[in-house]
């Protein structure tokens, strides 16, 4: 019965959504300290290539590869983040966009290791490798009434889901902590934040690096879910896509990035039935959104309204007199 519900097609979409959510959060976190970085595609590429090369050439376990991918991307984040501090606004955006392109060109030209634009194939697949391990322990997906590929993709989705829950939990906690408040203060007004005794250098580099680590982490996951990467995957298109996740959903809140990534990943798939026009509609939705809700779909006031609504409902169902809110 489980086998009838689970469709690898849907699981595949869900796994891309979950990866895109991580990417969305990665740009949200840099935006939350008021920095617009377009280098996340580059960091994603670093994470993807690091993990792919390590697992292919040195037979490293995938989990270690993914973590090292994120770490290496984070190191690059610190290296780029410190000089980039001098820049802000569009200047930072252009500098980081340039960084992303440099990374891509390095992947293209460093033939001996990255195989240039041919790309890396034969990257161990997260699901398939796990499946092999499960097989060794004598587990058979048949016991759950699942086919092999259903089981493989279910595993991938479950792992990604767990990772996502942990990440979202962590960043919500962080937002409510000293660090999150410092980010918000810097975003509002750097000078004011500095005069309040916030170490701007530290917090800006911290948020930039967190973004880089997350992007690298997502990149590494991407590499092991696709089993093939090429430099073209990490071009500026990707940077723009990532930015759209957060801007569309709303860049003030983490929920915005999550919603944006989910919506933007489902949209092209859902519009398949009008295949020729689907990207047109994608564009129209973006334009309409920018015209009517430039702050993104989900913002603070919407969330408040939603919470109030929930509270009202709860009260109503408890039989306590409903008080008119406005």
């Amino acid at each position: 019965m489980l086998g009838d519900i689970i469709n690898p097609y849907h699981l595949q979409i869900v796994s891309f959504i979950l990866i895109n959510i991580i990417l969305g959060i990665s740009i949200y976190i840099t935006l939350s300290s008021g920095q617009l970085s377009l280098g996340n595609a580059g960091f994603m590429g670093i994470g993807a290539y690091t993990s792919a090369l390590l697992t292919i050439n040195f037979d490293l376990p995938i989990f270690l590869g993914i973590i090292l991918g994120a770490v290496v991307a984070g190191v690059f984040g610190i290296l780029i983040g410190i000089p980039a501090l001098r820049l802000s606004g569009v200047y930072l955006a252009i500098a980081t966009l340039g960084f992303g392109e440099v990374i891509r060109v390095i992947f293209v030209n460093w033939d001996s290791i990255t195989q240039g634009s041919i790309g890396l194939s034969g990257i161990p697949h997260l699901g398939r490798e796990l499946f092999k391990t499960f097989k060794l322990t004598g587990f058979d997906p048949d016991m759950l009434g699942l086919k092999n590929n259903q089981f493989i993709y279910l595993l991938v989705v479950l792992i990604l889901l767990l990772v996502n829950i942990l990440l979202v939990w962590f960043f919500i906690r962080q937002n409510k902590s000293r660090v999150g408040r410092a980010f918000a203060a810097i975003k509002m007004d750097e000078k004011a934040a500095e005069s309040m005794g916030i170490n701007i250098t530290y917090y800006k580099v911290l948020s930039f690096t967190q973004g880089a680590i997350l992007a690298g982490f997502a990149g590494a996951l991407y590499a092991h879910v696709m089993a093939y990467i090429s430099p073209a995957d990490f071009a500026y298109h990707r940077a723009i896509d990532i930015l759209i996740f957060s801007i569309f959903g709303g860049s003030e809140l983490i929920w915005g990035a999550i919603f944006g990534a989910t919506f933007m990943t489902i949209l092209p798939e859902a519009l398949r039935f009008i295949s020729d026009y689907r990207y047109m509609i994608y564009g129209v939705i973006l334009i309409a959104m920018m015209a009517f809700r430039p702050q993104g779909i989900i913002d603070v006031s919407l969330l408040k309204w939603f919470k109030r609504k929930l509270k009202l409902k709860r009260r109503g169902s408890l039989g306590i007199g409903t008080k008119k809110y406005n």
Binding site: P8, Y9, R128, A232, D233, I266, W305
Partner: protein
């Protein structure tokens, strides 16, 4: 304020519901007949139909549709195509492949359009045991992905040596210069073959120059090449950059013949570069002027149907569906494994591209035609 929120929310939720409903739309309905009468089967097509490379996908699907009508009319097999768009992106190609593969009715996949997409989709199809055939994937190593992966597009490793050999013999060339785009899978893999082949033939490679996609000024590379005085220029480029390169080379006074790969082979080169395109030598499976009733018939039909001449992508797609039909006929049942075995055994199938066979990997065995641009058209190169 609250009212406008409500409206926005209503709109969003309606959209979401529509999308979810569309997502779960299933393709499993019709039952395929397994005994008696002609074999009827569904074949999934993954094609690049939206985005910058949409022209490829369009030509390919046109080719499929033309062949489909003819095959179904003949009645040996009944085929139904389910065409899906990949937008030229690996992740979309993979999701859509999953969608098609999860329907048990679909016995084979045709496409995807790009080699990069095939690198992602191929292994997945192989694991799921569904035959997949690329009609435009020319990079090295594609059929070697697995035993369920085939292609009918001639790889660069077949096209470039043929063109190079004829050109070298004709002009008695000893020294060559190579120019290639290093940020594209297609041109990179063309270059790898060029270099290997030139070395094998004992040619002296004077210089290797690179350029990037969308570059508009090639004077630096061309000046260097001109100073070295080669006998031939080998260029692995796609037609848009290729045409500009030829134009600038001629303006600089380089009137050497160019030898190009498969991506260079497009009537667009003549359109963009005009007279400057004279002397471009390419090897191709497809020659629309070929004196063969089958070819002329195809060209005529295609022109009346779609209003312009077919290119190699349309021709390869057209032949690919015939190969699938032949495989299905020989297999006798609409079954993935039976079809794979039948495909692997296809020998000397007569198509519009010529006699076609698969080698043991599922790669193409075929004699490419070498063409040269002369007097504003592609002509046979003798």
């Amino acid at each position: 304020m609250r009212n406008s929120f409500k409206k926005v929310y209503l709109l969003i939720s309606v959209l979401m519901v529509v999308m979810l409903a569309a997502c779960s739309e299933d393709v499993t309905n019709a039952t395929s007949e397994k005994s008696g009468g002609p074999v009827s089967a569904k074949i999934g097509v993954i094609s690049y139909m939206t985005g910058p490379g949409a022209a490829y996908g369009e030509a390919i699907t046109n080719g499929f549709n033309l062949a489909l009508d003819e095959i179904n009319e003949k009645g040996d097999v009944k085929i139904e195509l389910i065409i899906e768009d990949s937008a030229g992106k690996q992740d979309q190609a993979l999701t859509v492949a999953q969608k098609l593969m999860s329907s048990d009715d679909i016995v084979a996949l045709l496409g995807p359009t790009l080699s990069t997409e095939m690198n992602v989709v191929g292994p997945e199809a192989d694991i799921n045991g569904i035959p997949i055939m690329g009609t435009s994937t020319t990079a090295a190593g594609i059929p070697q992905i697995g035993e369920y992966v085939f292609r009918n597009s001639i790889p660069e490793s077949l096209a470039i040596p043929a063109a190079l050999e004829k050109a070298v013999n004709k002009y008695g060339a000893k020294k060559v210069a190579i120019l290639y785009g290093n940020d594209d899978l297609f041109t990179q893999s063309g270059f790898d073959t060029m270099k290997a082949e030139a070395e094998k033939m004992g040619l002296e490679i004077l210089t290797i120059e690179t350029f990037q996609k969308g570059q508009s000024d090639y004077n630096a590379q061309l000046t260097k090449i001109k100073d070295l005085q080669p006998d031939l220029i080998l260029a692995s480029a796609l037609y848009n950059e290729g045409a500009v390169i030829m134009d600038q080379a001629r303006k600089m006074g380089i009137d050497l013949p160019f030898v190009g790969g498969n991506g260079y082979n497009s009537p667009q080169v003549i359109e963009i570069a005009g007279e400057a395109s004279e002397g471009l030598i390419v090897a191709t499976p497809w020659f629309g002027e070929k004196d063969d009733p089958k070819v002329q018939d195809f060209v005529k039909k295609y022109e009346t149907e779609y209003g312009h001449k077919p290119d190699q992508f349309a021709a390869q797609a057209y032949d690919a569906l015939y190969i699938m039909a032949e495989g299905l006929k020989n297999a006798g049942v609409a079954d993935r494994d039976a079809l794979r075995d039948a495909l692997a055994e296809i020998k000397d199938l007569d198509g519009i591209l010529g006699k076609f066979s698969f080698d043991e990997d599922g790669d193409v065995i075929m004699e490419p035609t070498v063409l040269i641009i002369k007097d504003g058209t592609f002509q046979l190169f003798e």
